[in-house]
């Protein structure tokens, strides 16, 4: 989806989203196409307005990254203070979700086994597997020479290698 949308300068919110928004807000009102187009452009304008103001506030606060706080202050200074309560709720939700995600991943790490130990165990398992392979290989070779031996071998190992049909 990167290059097919043409010029970067025509970046707007998708029309469908705006149409849905209009439908939800004014369910019984007919809105002309050009009015919808205007709404789309108003969105972009609003985003620029808030971003620019938030950016100014961010620079003044000597930080490099625009934080939600900066955005909230921008809303206030631009006269959209009435939005702040709901906006703060959204922020809280986001923080909660992010926190849960972090907890979940750290719970996985803290099975009680530190990473080095896990790594060691992994290496052990690999070594074991390699050993088993090494043990099997000469037996298979023997099996090729002597069919009866291979039959016995297969009978013996059929318990754990039932899927192998390649002989």
């Amino acid at each position: 989806m990167a290059s097919s949308s043409g010029n970067d300068d025509d970046l707007t919110i998708p029309r469908a989203a705006i149409n849905k928004m209009i439908k939800e807000t004014l369910p019984n009102v007919r809105v002309a196409n050009d009015a919808r187009e205007l709404v789309v452009n108003c969105c972009t304008e609003f985003i620029h307005l808030i971003s620019s103001e938030a950016n100014d506030i961010c620079n003044k606060s000597d930080k490099k990254t625009i934080s939600p706080e900066h955005v909230i202050n921008a809303l206030e200074s631009l006269g959209f203070a009435s939005y702040i309560t709901e906006v703060k709720d959204v922020l809280q939700e986001c923080k909660t979700v992010a926190l849960k995600r972090r907890k979940a991943s750290s719970r996985l790490e803290n099975l009680g086994i530190p990473e080095e130990e896990l790594l060691r165990q992994q290496q052990e398992l690999f070594a074991k597997a390699r050993q088993q392979q090494a043990e099997l290989a000469p037996q298979e070779w023997l099996g090729m020479h002597d069919p009866s031996a291979s039959a016995a071998q297969q009978a013996g190992s059929s318990q754990d290698e039932e899927e192998e049909d390649d002989m």
Partner: protein
């Protein structure tokens, strides 16, 4: 979620919004601010749409292109939209005489 009766079904794309924000070369990195902006945008749109509709409905006739302009001019917080308004009607007028209009469905 309990208590939240109005749950918007439409969600604006965060990546698109971030791109729009960063078109301004002054804007640098953004952290966790986009969902906040999305919410503010939703509220703003709602506010704009409802206020415009009220003006449209208060007119004796159904279709008014002036309705938009009036709303943008009457509210201080919408003044930043004046330029957008000026650019739009020029193209609309070419298409038909109605221009920009919203009319209620009676």
């Amino acid at each position: 979620m309990p208590g939240q009766k109005r749950k918007y079904n439409v969600r604006f794309p965060p990546s698109r919004i971030k791109k729009i924000m960063q078109k301004d070369t002054q804007v640098g990195r953004i952290a966790m601010a986009v969902p906040v902006i999305i919410r503010a945008l939703e509220m703003f749109l709602k506010s704009l749409l409802i206020k415009t509709c009220l003006i449209t409905q208060s007119k004796p006739s159904n279709v008014m292109s002036v309705a938009h302009k009036q709303c943008i001019e009457s509210e201080k917080i919408f003044h930043f939209l004046k330029e957008v308004m000026e650019q739009a009607p020029a193209t609309a007028a070419k298409k038909d005489n109605r221009g920009l209009s919203m009319w209620p469905l009676y």
